[in-house]
């Protein structure tokens, strides 16, 4: 393939800039894991809505066509919340590799690892 030949630097300054910013970027290293937030919120919601289901009034049940929809929705949300919390527990966020020069990253990428096969 011919693209390995030196491309003109002029047309690709923006790509170098993005590469440089990627190396300095803090998102991968410092952004929290959204799975915790989804898990916690849905556990809390599941408990609140589920409790509303346990103490459902006859009017509530009648309105929802005799389905205790609060109870079922609460249980569903609780299950989803627990799913996310268990997922974080089993597969925690991979600790980010400290910023390496691009060449080192490229070299490391080919190696593969134990998590490679699923």
């Amino acid at each position: 393939m011919t693209e390995k030949q030196n491309p003109p630097a002029e047309g690709h300054a923006f790509q170098d800039e993005v590469t440089e910013l990627e190396a300095k970027s803090a998102t991968a290293a410092r952004l929290f894991d959204i799975r915790r937030i989804i898990g916690a919120l849905f556990v809390v919601y599941g408990l609140i809505v589920g409790a509303a289901g346990i103490f459902a009034t006859d009017a509530d049940l009648e309105k929802a066509q005799d389905i205790n929809i609060n109870l079922w929705t609460g249980l569903g949300m609780l299950a989803l919340g627990l799913f996310f919390l268990v997922w974080v527990k089993l597969r925690p966020t991979v600790p980010p590799t400290p910023p390496l020069p691009q060449e080192a990253l490229d070299a490391a990428e080919g190696e593969g690892g134990p998590a490679g096969r699923g």
Binding site: E3, H12, L21, R30, I37, L41, V49, Q65, I69, G116
Partner: protein, 557 residues
């Protein structure tokens, strides 16, 4: 524009408001917690290109699942019946798969930070500036229109005065994006995705029981609306009349090909989610992961429309006091007890805010990178652009809030402007597709293709259709035809202009055109673990197409 009828006030109580308050606290919390991850402008605008595919994928579908979309598609279900599924299965899935499998290597691999920026490198400043300005103006406008739509809904459902809703929601969106940047917007979209499902699924289940299940819907609606109402293709022969005002050809070409490809593949509010993924494999999978929920969403959006029509057979007709858009609010009012009702209100509000946030977070990126940094203040240090991005976010939201107040007085003008801007996506798609696959396409062709395609769509819609020179039965049908016209005219103009003008030297197009590669892009762009079968883009993409096709079967025979 949404208009909700009087008498839709929901019987909310303290429990429902507790649920809503918790959500608002979490939204702000995400913004503050994301703050420490924002170090560079790339973190602020594209989450440092480091998010996992499932996060960007769910954000991709959630950015489209705004409340106007949810209420509007339920309304389409009431008005057009099962034809509404075309907006999902033919009008979204093929385009999403095309974006992931075919276009993403160019977008992500070339390291552009926005859709307009791709135009800059592929064509040049004229088409870049044109599309950047139009995108920036239209996103702020759409954000404002969304905000206004939300204010009307909240006034009807909760009794909040319009200005309270505009100021509160505007402030929250402003705060969490200014503080946490795109990561905050995307995380909130992922959260919104689950909350809105937690609202719509119980609504659909209780609704189905109320009307006697799917059998109840089919027998009731076939009797009242005619046999074609619950089919996807009956009555769409050329020359036949149907409520959609479109035939199978304009559905397939206009909606399925031109309009949907224009929206899904060039709308930066969507593509931005994929550009924030951590590698090319994750970027390709972003729209593909989004495709699967998109296929199933009609079950909890369009079906409630049918349920509402069974429960309130006069909905949408004069004198009923109910508008098509009231379908989901009516079900919320009549079927959900306190508790789940709070979840539903929260989901709706979350969907409004996330829809607006998607516009704002794409607006600040395009304005800062493609207008401010590209033409007004070049070559400053990165910290300067990060600061500009934050200021622009705040200014954008404030203009959006202003637009919402203006829209309250002049809603017809807003409708008109929205239609106007909608004509810009299609020519943009022509320019991209020809520019990506034909090396010779010249910079001048990009600009003139964009301009002529947009003009052609406008001429067709505002002159030929609205003046009655050609006969199309509905606005929807006219939209489909206008898109086809824009595509054909834009394409022809591009080919002609290309043949008479000078192309860019081929070495400047590396990574931007089919058959070239970005220098330094690792070949597969995947990381370890990405070779497992469920992470293969081709399998996901074709799986989504096949699933969408299967979904058509029960509605086709």
């Amino acid at each position: 524009m949404l208009h909700l009828a009087e008498g839709l006030r929901l019987p909310t109580n303290g429990l429902d408001y507790t649920i809503l308050a918790i959500y608002f606290a979490v939204v702000l919390g995400i913004g503050f917690a994301a703050r420490r991850s924002v170090k560079t402008s790339l973190d602020f605008f594209l989450s440092g290109r480091s998010l996992p595919a499932w996060v960007t994928g769910l954000a991709f579908v959630a950015a489209n699942l705004g409340a106007t979309e949810i209420l509007g598609m339920a309304a389409n279900g009431v008005q057009y019946g099962a034809y509404t599924v075309h907006w999902y299965w033919i009008g979204a899935i093929p385009a999403m798969v095309f974006l992931g499998l075919v276009m993403m290597p160019f977008y992500y691999g070339s390291k552009v930070r926005s859709v307009p920026e791709f135009l800059l490198h592929r064509f040049g400043p004229s088409s870049h500036l044109l599309s950047s300005v139009i995108f920036a103006v239209s996103s702020v406008l759409i954000a404002g229109v969304n905000l206004y739509a939300m204010a009307i809904v909240l006034e009807a459902l909760l009794g909040w005065p319009e200005w309270v809703a505009i100021v509160v929601a505007g402030f929250f969106v402003l705060a969490y994006i200014t503080i946490g940047g795109l990561s905050s917007a995307i995380y909130n979209e992922v959260l919104q995705f689950f909350v809105i499902l937690a609202a719509l699924i119980p609504l659909t289940i209780v609704g189905l029981k109320r009307v006697g299940g799917w059998d109840g819907i089919t027998s009731s609606l076939s009797a009242s609306q005619g046999g074609d109402f619950l089919t996807a293709w009956d009555g769409t022969g050329i020359g036949e009349a149907n409520p959609l005002g479109a035939n199978w050809l304009t559905i397939v070409l206009g909606l399925g090909f031109v309009m949907s490809f224009g929206y899904w593949t060039t709308n930066f509010a969507e593509v931005q989610r994929a550009l924030s993924a951590k590698n090319l494999s994750a970027a390709k999978r972003t729209p593909l992961i989004a495709a699967f929920p998109k296929i199933l969403i009609p079950m909890v959006v369009v079906v409630p429309g049918f349920i509402a029509l069974v429960m309130e057979p006069t909905i949408g007709q004069a004198g009923s006091g109910l508008d098509y858009n009231d379908a989901i609010p009516v079900l919320m009012r009549d079927l959900l007890p306190n508790g789940v009702l709070g979840i539903a209100v929260t989901g709706l509000l979350a969907a409004f805010m996330a829809g607006m946030a998607a516009n704002v977070s794409s607006f600040n990126t395009v304005f800062t990178n493609d207008i401010w940094a590209a033409y007004l203040k070049k070559g400053r240090e990165d910290g300067y652009y990060l600061k500009v991005g934050r200021v622009v976010t705040a200014v954008g939201v404030l203009i959006g809030m202003g637009t919402a107040f203006i829209a309250a007085g002049f809603s017809n003008i807003m409708n008109y402007l929205q239609t106007l801007f909608s004509f810009f996506n299609v020519p943009l798609f022509v320019v991209f597709i020809i520019g990506m696959f034909w090396k010779r396409t010249t910079p001048a062709a990009g600009f003139w293709g964009l301009l002529s395609g947009t003009a052609a769509a406008m001429v067709n819609y505002f002159w030929l259709y609205q003046q009655g020179i050609i006969d199309i039965p509905s606005d929807q049908g006219a939209n489909f035809v206008s898109s086809i016209v824009a595509f054909v005219v834009g394409g022809i103009v591009m080919v002609v202009v290309t043949l008479v003008t000078k192309p860019k030297p081929v070495e400047q197009l590396a990574g931007l055109v089919y058959g070239t590669k970005s220098p330094g892009l690792d070949l597969e762009g995947a990381e370890e673990g990405d070779e497992v079968w469920y992470r293969k883009p081709a399998l996901l993409g074709w799986g989504a197409i096949i699933l969408a096709a299967i979904c058509y079967v029960p509605f086709s025979f």
